[in-house]
C-alpha cells in the first residue's frame, strides 16, 4: 500500500500505523509535522491549510510512487490536513514500513521533503496582534500591507 491523502478532520496516527504494519517488515519510521507557535519572529496563534485537491492528490501520489521506486519499502502513507488548525495539531503525517530501518528512514525523509516543495497546499498563519500571512509568499505580505 502506497498512498497519499488529504484529511479535513483530525485523524489518529496510531490507526494509520496499524494499516502499514506487515509481518515482513522489521522497521517502521514515521514523521509528524505539528503546528508550531512561532515562525520567523512572529507568534503564531493558529493556521489554515488550503489545498488544490485534484492536483495535490496526483502530485502527492507521484511522490509516494517515487519513494517506493527509489527505496525497497513495503508500505508508505502520507496524510495532509486542510482547514483550521490549532497550535500542536498534527498537520502532516508520513509512515513507512520496510524490511530494514535504513530504507524506511530514507523513504520517509524523501517523502516529507518532496511533499513540502511540490504539493499544491498553502499555509496561512494568524499572528498575535491580528496580522496574518501566506507562508513562503513574500510578495503576498508586502502586497497585503500596501
Amino acid at each position: 500500500m502506497i498512498e497519499f491523502s488529504i484529511a479535513d478532520k483530525k485523524f489518529q496516527p496510531e490507526t494509520e500505523r496499524e494499516r502499514i504494519a506487515r509481518p515482513s517488515c522489521g522497521g517502521y519510521v514515521s514523521f509528524e509535522g505539528w503546528v508550531r507557535d512561532h515562525n520567523e519572529g512572529h507568534k503564531v496563534q493558529r493556521l489554515e491549510y488550503q489545498a488544490y485537491e485534484a492536483l495535490a492528490l496526483k502530485e502527492g501520489s507521484r511522490i509516494m510512487a517515487e519513494a517506493a521506486e527509489r527505496f525497497p519499502i513495503e508500505n508508505a502513507s502520507c496524510i495532509h490536513r486542510v482547514g483550521e488548525l490549532e497550535i500542536g495539531d498534527l498537520a502532516v503525517w508520513v509512515g513507512v514500513s520496510a524490511g530494514h530501518r535504513d530504507e524506511a528512514f530514507k523513504a520517509c525523509r524523501y517523502i516529507i521533503d518532496e511533499i513540502k516543495h511540490r504539493v499544491p497546499v498553502w499555509k496561512k498563519e494568524y499572528y498575535e496582534g491580528g496580522d496574518s500571512g501566506w507562508v513562503n509568499c513574500e510578495a503576498c505580505a508586502s502586497h497585503a500591507s500596501e
Binding site: Y52, L55, V92, I112, P120, W122, C137
Partner: protein, 79 residues
C-alpha cells in the same frame, strides 16, 4: 471567445474575492490569461507562480482550448 474555468487558491483567492469563475477571453496562453486577470484583480507580483491546466501542471505558453480549467499556483507551503 473561449471560456475558461478558473479556480483561485490562497493569496489569489483573497485578491479575487471568489473561489472560482468562468472567464470569457481571447487569450491564447496561460501567461496571457494571468496578465489579464492580474489587471482585473491586482494580484501581487510573484516570481514563482506555476500554472495547472485541467488539473495537471502545465506550460505558461501552452495553447489554451475552449473549456479548459486553469489554476494559478502561488508558492506552496505544505507540511
Amino acid at each position: 471567445m473561449k471560456k475558461f474555468n478558473i479556480q483561485y487558491f490562497a493569496i489569489l483567492r483573497e485578491c479575487a474575492g471568489i473561489d472560482s469563475e468562468v472567464v470569457e477571453s481571447n487569450v491564447a496562453t496561460p501567461a496571457e490569461l494571468f496578465v489579464e486577470l492580474t489587471r482585473r484583480y491586482d494580484f501581487p507580483d510573484m516570481a514563482t507562480v506555476k500554472v495547472a491546466i485541467n488539473d495537471e501542471f502545465g506550460d505558461w505558453q501552452a495553447k489554451l482550448q475552449d473549456g479548459d480549467s486553469v489554476v494559478f499556483i502561488p508558492p506552496v507551503a505544505g507540511g
